[in-house]
Symmetry: C2
Subunit: 355 residues, 2 copies
């Protein structure tokens, strides 16, 4: 049995639950390593994966005796089988933030159980990464770094944001990534002031600022990196803001390690923003792993203690609507005594020459 399932079974026992229906596909993938649609039942006597005829063959090929997971094609499961899985054992956990109301009702009827909300149980287990997960995130970050190094040397005069985003993604896909972590942002000139800009047909020109936010996906795991660079000369105002953002980012990274309360660090950064009259328009960061955005989120609202081997992004930014914006972001690994940057592209002020 995968240690991830064992750990979940222990947690369920601690909560007084007799089992759980796992339906969030990311959680299913995390617990089973299976790439197939279906739900995972953590039942009293066995682990059951219910899928359909599209996947049953490949699922059975992937599972070994050590998996301790029984796979069923749902078309072969009877009403009585469904009722037998949990043996009428009462309280069974489910993912209330993922299961639709329609499926909630269906589960109640099918399994003859009492459904209990589990409040992100698997998601919070996923915060602490196993070594094999960290290796995959590192690889995704490496590809991301290489892609950035490539792209800033290949921006031609007159290229559009869309074309640059496309080249960047192409580089990642051709160099080991098996996907793009999220929709790439390439925002130039005044477009950089929108934290969630999408690439447009705006052409890069002299004295532009360009904000990149991008990442590779590798074996299901994500990298997330932002850099802001300048074309030609840098206006003094932008230089000052860049230095502020970089300093703020490094302050967070320096303070992060196992045991740090995220809230305290982020509150201090918000104070710095207030002193400069900057508005906080974008989150300071988030967990990253099998999902591009996962817990923990970096905010000053709730106490949130960093755990060893969790992976988070650190991404402060300052935005002046209609003018320009600057964001700097790294994907970082939380260790016992430090916070280790997994994206390593230099962050000294960079000016590029159009080719």
């Amino acid at each position: 049995m995968k240690p991830e399932i064992k750990q979940l079974r222990d947690k369920l026992k601690g909560l007084g639950l007799n089992g759980m229906i796992v339906s969030n596909p990311i959680s299913v993938k995390y617990l089973t390593d299976l790439d197939a649609e279906g739900i995972l039942l953590i039942a009293p006597k066995e682990n059951v994966f219910i899928t359909d005829s599209r996947y049953i063959e490949s699922v059975n090929n992937s599972l070994t005796i050590d998996s301790e997971i029984f796979a069923y094609d749902k078309k072969n499961i009877s009403k009585y089988d469904y009722e037998a899985f949990f043996e009428n054992l009462g309280d069974i956990g489910f993912e209330e933030n993922y299961v639709t109301y329609a499926n909630y009702k269906k589960y109640l009827e099918m399994f003859h159980i009492n459904l209990v909300e589990t409040e992100g149980l698997v998601e919070s287990q996923r915060i602490v990464k196993e070594n094999y997960e960290i290796e995959k995130i590192k690889k995704a970050c490496e590809i991301t770094d290489q892609a950035f190094e490539y792209i800033i040397k290949h921006i031609k005069k007159g290229m559009t944001e869309k074309q640059i985003a496309y080249e960047l993604e192409n580089y990642m896909l051709s160099n080991g990534a098996d996907g793009i972590a999220f929709e790439t942002i390439v925002a130039s000139g005044e477009n950089s002031s929108m934290p969630h800009a999408v690439p447009t047909n705006r052409k890069i020109q002299e004295n532009d600022i360009i904000l990149f936010d991008f990442g590779a996906k590798y074996q299901g795991y994500h990298a997330d990196c932002s850099r802001t660079v300048f074309v030609g000369t840098i206006p003094e105002e932008q230089k000052k803001v860049y230095e502020f953002v970089l300093e703020e980012q490094e302050k967070i990274i320096e303070n992060f390690k196992e045991g740090t309360n995220i809230k305290t660090i982020i509150r201090n950064r918000e104070t710095d923003y207030n002193l400069e009259n900057f508005e906080v328009m974008h989150s300071f960061g988030h967990g990253v792993g099998l999902e591009i955005h996962e817990v923990p989120f970096l905010n000053s609202k709730v106490d949130n203690i960093l755990k060893k081997n969790s992976v988070v992004t650190v991404e402060p930014g300052v935005y002046f609507p209609g003018k320009f914006g600057i964001r700097i972001e790294d994907t970082c690994l939380i260790d016992k005594n430090e916070c280790i940057k997994l994206t390593k592209t230099a962050k000294t002020i960079t000016t590029i020459k159009l080719i």
Copy 2:
């Protein structure tokens, strides 16, 4: 008020509902034209869009007095405002197939109402497309056709499936598409036998079969097209299967028009499959519009009458696991007396030459 909202209000009245909470983002976009996260309240006296600070400015810029939609940033809405929206008026519809159990409970508490399941009310309204929607789908199909014409002339010896998929997508994005309708399938040789293949590093070689399934996205609307082509000579067995699939596809298209019962037509096709001992491994088609897969689905299980101005794909296929597969698919518009193909690439047996 958009006619789509008026129509929904009439339907709600007919169902004895005093309003509805629309939370499926596709339905929200359909009813409001807004590109923003949030929920739409169809309330007794007004239409309310609740969003957050990331979107409120652009939402307010998009809305006009004719929209008759009031937009709120949720951080400015009090507990009492929430309770006032529906005036304690009792039965309010919600989307049970979209709303999570956690949000269902939150809505109950926030709005002080009784929530009633609406069973795909907006989705079924979306089946019949407005003219402006049909124009957008046509444009997406045009780009899709052009991309296919381009790609079959640009396949080099030794190119991988991934590279071909990438070129195809690049062509669409550089020629008017603002997105890819779904993950492109380029499946060659034995890979074509998997209905849901993802492009691999397999290199195209002489005497290959290549199955393409792809489409452009244009202003939110999708195109969906499959073609199967041959490299060099065609084995007799594959030729026969191709002719069978094409004939089956044309039989469906010839029979589809306003008022046709999908079930009857598909049941007849399944009979043809049985006669040839072919297994039905992939759906015969689906509605397409703001979503790549939407109602109606083409199956023989339930009565389902085609409506004028609905858009569906017709995509029979035959698959021999480990050997080869053939699928032919068009996006089609249902009219009063006929079914009009919106993807128009020729379907005569095509052999390509590697360059």
